[in-house]
Amino acid sequence: MQTKKRKLEFNSINTKLYNIIIAYLKKKFNCDSLDIPIERLFALGNGFLTVCYFSGNLEAAKITLTGLQAQGLHPYCLGVPLLIIKYTKHKNSKKIKIKPLFNLINFLKNCKNKIILNERIVQKLSYGKPIDVDLHEINPYIGEHENNKSKLYVIETDTGITIGFSRIFVYKNKARIVPLLDIGWYLREGK
């Protein structure tokens, strides 16, 4: 049961964290713009944060949250989780590690790092394992100049279904697609 013992915090996110998130996403997914209103983002957690996006009535949500918090109760989630943020210490400085989650995909429509693969290839990726494909099987074509391990790509099927995020490593005429998160997760977790 949720009780006062569980010291989870649930708050709107601040501008500093918001700017870090937006800059990260723009760089990773090669986006010109990102339309994620700050007032709709909430962060839940202590050691690490789950950032959620809420699409509904903000005023009603805030009244509800205030009522719950007055009783020492906290929600599991408000809206859909978009990101997980971990803070780590590195040589006296605090570093932030950001992990994108599946629902983030809805906000990446204007980003350039997207690849389209046929369903046969995508089927293999949904087992959560890296796969090697010929470069010509990736649409748009990704040349060796794209070989940058810090970039992330949205993977879509040729029927328009987004299935997850990956890194891509190019060598000779092949590309290794390493899924970071894929929709097969729901099956593997038995949900």
Partner: protein
């Protein structure tokens, strides 16, 4: 001092005492159900009891709900699933639902990319009915009690176009995880998920919600066609425990509906003890509650107003009962209650 719930339970104690007749025992033996169950079917289904029991041995068609939070057009989903070998047919009496008349051996209904990306949810059309009758608007604040695994919550969000606010409550840790996972997959972004026992929320949310859905925990006596174990699982003592829980939950639910607001009570049970007798408790104990007519045209029977020695409120006719032998679905009960201003 005795509470109104305790008093009500005491008054109805003999609902849970049974002496099955020879006819009931014969039916029970033939259809492998407990004797007291067969007796009750004879009591409220009368001549249709055997037809009902026979229909419980027939397989039910599977169905899906197209999720317009992830799709612009359900026709597109139908086309893409048909290309994979599925054959779908719209359910005539409820929008967004499709019968799955044929499915290939691979991919299964729960492993297509369309499913995994949240374009549809595998859901019986009867379980969509309480949501349709709740009729949530995008401006509403809605409470979904006992929300896991999220089929009804996500349908509420779909009808609200992801606006307004849904508070989805679930008490079990494991079930909350599956609720979160399903809502996330289905793109439900207007919901606050709480893992909590409902009684702790009554003071916080007193008269707060425009609409409340209580799809109550129940014996699952409507699920005999889906789960043969249910034929012998629930004893009269178990049924009494469900009755007690349901009375507490409906009383709490009612307190959280704002004046003029709507409460929809549903179960996947056909037991009068878990349905009409639970709603009757509200009618007896609150002056300002009315049973409203169900708006849709469903293949249903009306709610019971007589059972054994009891004569119940006439208003209960407005509740609806799905039976497998009438609708080709599992058994289900829905009742719509309006709180006075």
């Amino acid at each position: 001092m005795e509470s109104s719930i305790d008093e009500y339970i005491k008054k109805h104690a003999d609902l849970f005492v049974h002496s099955p007749t020879a006819r009931a025992l014969k039916l029970a033996e033939k259809y492998k159900v407990l004797g007291y169950m067969a007796q009750r079917y004879l009591d409220f289904l009368k001549d249709e009891a055997e037809e009902f029991l026979r229909s419980c041995s027939l397989p039910l068609r599977r169905a899906i709900r197209c999720n317009t939070l992830k799709l612009d057009s359900c026709e597109r989903l139908v086309r893409s699933l048909e290309l994979k070998g599925f054959k779908l047919e719209p359910v005539k009496w409820i929008k967004y639902f499709y019968w799955v008349n044929r499915a290939p051996s691979s991919p299964t209904l729960g492993s297509t990319f369309e499913y995994l990306s949240g374009q549809y949810y595998i859901q019986s059309p009867v379980s969509g009915v309480p949501v349709v009758e709740l009729n949530p608007n995008p401006s509403d604040t809605v409470l979904d009690m006992a929300a896991a695994p999220g089929g009804k919550t996500s349908f509420i969000a779909q009808l609200m176009r992801n606006q307004g606010l849904i508070v989805a409550v679930e008490s079990s840790r494991d079930r909350t995880k599956s609720l979160m996972s399903n809502l996330s997959r289905l793109g439900v972004a207007n919901t606050l998920i709480l893992r909590q026992r409902v009684e702790k929320l009554v003071n916080i949310f007193f008269e707060r919600f425009d609409r409340v859905l209580l799809d109550s925990p129940c014996s699952g006596e409507g699920l005999l066609p889906l789960d043969p174990a249910r034929r012998t699982k629930t004893s009269p003592e178990d049924l009494l425990r469900f009755f007690e829980t349901q009375l507490v939950l409906i009383d709490d639910a009612y307190k959280m509906v704002r004046p003029g607001g709507l409460l929809v009570y549903s179960t996947c049970s056909i037991a009068p003890e878990e349905n009409e007798f639970v709603v009757e408790y509200l009618l007896e104990n609150y002056d300002d509650v009315k049973v409203e007519k169900i708006s849709g045209s469903y293949p249903v029977e009306e709610g019971l107003t007589e059972y054994r020695k009891y004569i119940l409120s006439e208003e209960l006719r407005h509740c609806i009962r799905f039976y497998p032998h009438k609708s080709g679905t599992e058994g289900f009960f829905v009742c719509k209650l309006r709180r006075g201003n």
